[in-house]
Each structure stands twice: as structure tokens, then as C-alpha cells.
Amino acid sequence: MNMIELLTELAVMPLIAFTIGLFMVLMMRKIAAKIQRRVGPPLLQPLYDIVKLYAKKTQNSHGLVHDIGIIMAVGGYIAAETMLPVPGMNGIAAKSGLLALAYVIMIPSLGLALGVGQCANPNGSIGIARALTAMLAYDVPFVIIIFGASWFYGSNNLIDIVAHQQAGGIATWGAAKMPVLAIAALFSMYAMLGKQPFEIYVAPAEIATGPMVEMGGKYLGGLFVMQCFQLFTASAIYVTMFLGGGENWPFFLVKLFAIIAIPMSMAFVFPRYRTEDVLAVVWRWPVLLGLAGVWLVMH
């Protein structure tokens, strides 16, 4: 692979991720609307929102760190997208791997946390405290699953993992070989997406949307963009680990959207957990499932 090709991939991969993410947001809102027997937003609504937010005339910054936080939140995901192999493009997946990716996607969260902290709003700080607590909750099963998958495939390299699954068709997919882990992973990804009942850190009625309390204009817009990336990343990691990655774009898209659709179909009928209950639930079921799955994989 020559350098120019690589650079093109690095530029294109985030763009694709963003586009897919936009539609995932739309799908999410549509699912919510359908469950609530509403029409729901029009096709380009996520785009309208983002454009409008960026186009705000006056915007409030609480200081440089506030700005940098948003830049890190968006930029970190842009970087992360280049480490996720998609059909036809591998980016720098060979140079990072599953483990590094899991830590790289903490960078945007940390950036966001910094930005929110600078806002000097206790609601935001509480939101971040809760978000970090939620991260502590869902990352525990998540790393167990990463361990299991990495042990099963004998590699940490996402390209290898994808190749391994694609070699034998559906029968060799992670989900077929490691069903317990796949279920645990779905659970943990659900918690990661932070929708009901796990939306402890947004909690609009309680802490006024937590981290987003002081975010307006392009700051909020940045977070919307980040959400698009986040949905794509979570889904793509899952697909890569358990659903054979992307053989070609149509199948890949189906898998990506399906994976997001499953938890979202459940989300909007739930109320919200309390923080400690998120810990209790996530540390119990997906962790137990994950450990059982790892045990099965290793024996």
C-alpha cells in the first residue's frame, strides 16, 4: 500500500463514519418516534441540527479548555475511525489493534470531560462524574470481551480478526463461535451508548443534560458530531469482533445498523437507572456472561 492511498483512506474513513453516524442518529430518533407512535424527524434532521448549531451567530465559550475539549472530543474520534477496518479500507488498523483502539476512544471522553469541567457548571461536573462512573461500569465487561475475542482469534490485530471470520463464512463469525461473549458485548455496548435506562449522565430533568449543560452552538454541534462517531465506532467494533466485519459495503451497513437497532428498540420504553444501579446491573450480568464466555473460549 502506498502512502497516498493510505492518506486517502485516512481522510475518507472519518467522513464515511460521520455519514453513517448521521443516519444512525436518524434511525435512533425514528425508532423512538415509532415506539411513541409519532412520525419522527425528517431524513436530514440530524444534519439540519448540526448545521444550525455550527451556524449560530453568537456562541459562548468558557475558555480555551472548553474549546479544546470539543476539539479533542471530535478529533479523537476522527483518529479512532482510521483504526477501524471497513470494507476496502484498513487505515492504520494494523498499527494499533483492538486494545489500543479501546484506549484511543477514551481520549474523546477525556477531552469532553475537560471541556465540561472548564464550563464551571456543577451540573456538567456531576454529569461527567456520572459518565466516568458509567464508563467504569461498562468498560469492565467490555475489556473482558476484548480479552476473550483477542484470545479466541489469537491476535489483537483487527485485520486478522476480520480475515479470520471471513475465511469460513457465517459459521466462523465471532457470534457463532462465542455466543455468550457476543451477548455480553451487546449488553455492554448498550450501556456504552448511554441511552435509557443507562442515560444517567444526561438526565435532562435532573442535572439539565449534564455534560451538555453549557454547550450551545458549535459546542453542542461538536457533541452531535461526536455522537455520530460514537454510534458508528461502537457498532463497528462489535461487527468487527463478532459479525465478521465488512465483506462489502451493503452487508456491512446492514450489520452496523442492525447492531444499533437492537438496543435502541429497547431503550425508549425504559425509564432511567440511578448511577449505583447502573454499576450493579452492568457489573453483574454482562460481567458474569463475559467471564463465562471467556472461560468457554479458553477451554
Binding site: 411513541q36 419522527g40 439540519y48 441540527d49 448545521v51 444550525k52 451567530k57 480555551l64 449543560v213 450551545g216
Partner: protein, 246 residues
């Protein structure tokens, strides 16, 4: 001042299709379109009118299909919905909330109370006309207006935004002295919000003929400074001065 048309609206948008860069015009149109199709609203539920909003949002009327959805804090919101009578005490909060919103921002007064005080006309503690204190873009009269009326009003606003007609937020900057005067009359001359409207007007070049005036002068006398904490290195102490008290 009994009709909407009499609310002073000063448009400074260039008429569409006029001079200037075509591409820029298209861009502006696009922005206006997006603004009109994506409205986050903050409902400041001061009175009984708030009860009409849930039906407007939920499955019967579903605002979201118009791109309108509720938001929680002023920073995120585009529309400030004031849904009922406004007492003096509440008005302070409404003004604070309005000033904390990011422009372009729109104020909608719902119910008769926001128009003229409604049934509280004789109350000593109720602000009668909201547009004395804030630039109201749209009144939805009624006691209370039905959800259809609310939706209708919102659609009107969307049209106005798309056409570039609804930009009363500029008026607040351009005639800040006027609004501030009315506010001071009600709250006393010590009145101050933490938002630096004049500074914003300067920063975004939104100054108008009446931005500054006697009332802003009065404000400056009583104002506690609101200069943001700029990041400072403060490394003037190189080399360390011996005489300096530490």
C-alpha cells in the same frame, strides 16, 4: 401596539437575490433553511399554558416532524417559550435565560397573559407586555391556545425564519438601551444580569443606534465587572524581583 405588526421589527438582512456573492447568498439561504428546520425550544413554563405543550410534542401533533424538540438549558435552545403570566420575579429569570441563549434566538409568548397581562391585568406584580422587556417574535394568544394554535404559531415562525424576517434578537442588541430601560423601571437601577450584552454586541458587531444610552450608562455605574477570566501566564517575574511581596 395591539397587533403583531406594530412590534418594532427592524430587518437588516439584505433582501434576498440582491447584490453580493451568489454563493454566499445560497449559503445564507441554506443556513436560514436549516435554522428553520431545526428548532430547539426551551419552554419556560410560567403559567397554565404549559399544559398545552405536551400534546403538541407527543404523538398527536408530534413537533419533532417539524424539527422542533424540547431542550433543557438556554445554551442549547433556539426558542424561548413563555407560557403564561410573567410576574416581576419570574421576569428576571426569563431575561437571564433569554440573554444566555445563543443567537439567533426567538421568543414566543403563549397565552394572553404575555400579550397584555390577561386576567392579571390589575396585578401589581405582573409584567403586562412581554415585548417591553424582550423582543418577542411571535405571540400565540388565547386563554389558553390549543395545541393546533401552538403548532400553527411555530410553523409561522419557521416560515418567518426561512424568509429571514424573524430576527428580533438583533433588535435586542441594537436597542438594548430601550429594553434595559424598561427592565430598570421594573427592577430598579441596580438591575444587572451576568451576561455582558454590550460586550457581545461589540464582539459580534451588532451595535445599533440605541445599544448605548442613558440606561446603559446607569448600568455601568452599578455593574460588577464581568470581564471573563482570560488565560494569563503572569510570568512577568522573570527574573524574580526581590522586593516583591509574596
Amino acid at each position: 401596539m395591539s397587533t403583531l405588526k406594530n412590534i418594532p421589527v427592524v430587518s437588516h438582512e439584505k433582501p434576498s437575490g440582491g447584490t453580493g456573492n451568489l454563493l454566499a447568498n445560497v449559503f445564507d439561504e441554506l443556513m436560514a433553511f436549516c435554522r428553520s428546520r431545526s428548532l430547539f425550544m426551551l419552554h419556560y413554563c410560567t403559567g397554565c399554558g404549559a399544559i398545552e405543550l405536551p400534546p403538541a410534542m407527543t404523538s398527536r401533533f408530534d413537533m419533532e416532524r417539524l424539527g422542533i424538540q424540547p431542550m433543557v438549558t438556554p445554551r442549547q435552545a433556539d426558542i424561548l417559550l413563555v407560557t403564561g403570566y410573567v410576574s416581576t420575579k419570574t421576569l428576571k429569570r426569563i431575561i437571564l435565560t433569554y440573554e444566555q441563549m445563543n443567537s439567533p434566538k426567538y421568543v414566543i409568548g403563549i397565552c394572553s397573559c404575555t400579550v397584555n397581562g390577561g386576567m392579571y391585568w390589575q396585578s401589581y406584580a405582573t409584567a403586562k407586555k412581554l415585548n417591553d422587556y424582550l423582543p418577542v417574535d411571535m405571540y400565540i394568544a388565547g386563554c389558553m391556545p390549543r395545541p393546533e394554535a401552538v403548532i400553527h404559531g411555530l410553523r409561522e415562525l419557521m416560515e418567518n425564519i426561512k424568509k429571514g424576517e424573524s430576527d428580533n434578537w438583533r433588535d435586542y442588541y441594537r436597542r438594548y438601551d430601550h429594553y434595559l430601560g424598561n427592565q430598570q423601571r421594573l427592577f430598579g437601577e441596580n438591575w444587572q444580569t451576568p451576561t455582558d450584552i454590550i460586550g457581545e454586541a461589540r464582539h459580534y458587531d451588532l451595535m445599533g443606534p440605541e445599544t448605548l444610552g442613558p440606561h446603559t450608562a446607569l448600568l455601568e455605574q452599578h455593574q460588577t465587572p464581568l470581564k471573563p477570566f482570560e488565560m494569563t501566564l503572569g510570568l512577568a517575574d522573570l527574573p524574580v524581583r526581590k522586593d516583591e511581596p509574596r
